[in-house]
Amino acid sequence: MTAEDRQYFEDIEVGAEYVSPGRTVTEADIVAFAGLSGDYNVLHTDAEFMRTSIFGERIAHGLLGLSISSGLGSRAMTRPFATLAFLGLRWRFKGPIKIGDTIKVRIKVTDKRETSKPDRGIVVLNRAVTNQRGEVVQEGETDIMVERRR
């Protein structure tokens, strides 16, 4: 990828929307995420216990959904942003992601502002993660620092 393929602060338009391809969340993803994070909470790892829960089965870690959605986000854009840093996020977990669910992410640019430094700006993205029924299972805002053209 060359630098010209990227969208700089000036190129990014408030209101622009991107939709990712879908990704089916599998049992293997949940097992792998438990191993990586060390979060072996019964919600994600005990099929027998979860059979008796309100969900009826194991559910994906909330942060697994967020992690997969960040990867999907990079596949939603043909021209990625010239991101310098990830500043923060405000995120709401609204519903479970179950084994076999297919999620995608919709990204919308909601705000951009200049900073005191002339070589960068802040861009705010709203991200909504939906399942195969169109239900929003996670959503929130991420703030990123994007390079400006020089």
Binding site: A32, G38, L66, I68
Partner: protein, 144 residues
């Protein structure tokens, strides 16, 4: 089942500290595979001679698991509700992070209880690299 603490047992103000976790290249590779973001493995952009950066979201992920590794049993988490998180400084492969957690508020609901927990992620030099707030839904003590 192991003895669990419940919403009722949690004291506002209680501070807990997790063990440390060294971030390795293997973690970054596993996270790239799991998230599907393979740009994370592009090392061509960083300053020469510096250890590669660890994806911010991977640090957040590892900290979510570290939170269970404290000397007291943790209440059964029924759901993560809200995350409000700030990334303050880069974390590099080879750094060791740990987490300091404090319950800042709690509120009982009929089906469980909400805990608001402040978390700070510190590196081996004691610098806060990430911080934020979790809102968790945890189990209440079952009625006898």
């Amino acid at each position: 089942m192991e003895s669990l603490r419940y919403f009722e047992d949690i004291e506002v103000g209680e501070v807990l500290q997790t063990p440390g976790r060294t971030l390795t290249e293997a973690d970054v590779v596993r996270f790239a595979a799991l998230s599907g973001d393979h740009d994370l493995l592009d090392r061509s952009g960083g300053p020469p001679g510096r250890a590669p950066a660890v994806p911010d979201m991977l640090v957040m992920t590892l900290v979510s698991g570290l939170g269970f590794r404290v000397p007291v049993s943790q209440p059964l988490v029924l759901a993560f509700m809200v995350f409000d998180w700030r990334f303050l400084a880069p974390v590099l492969v080879g750094d060791t992070v740990h987490c300091r957690m404090q319950v800042s508020a709690k509120r009982a609901l009929r089906e469980g209880g909400v805990l608001v927990e402040k978390r700070e992620v510190l590196n081996q030099r004691g610098e806060v690299v990430q911080e934020g707030e979790y809102k968790l839904l945890v189990a209440r003590r079952p009625r006898a």
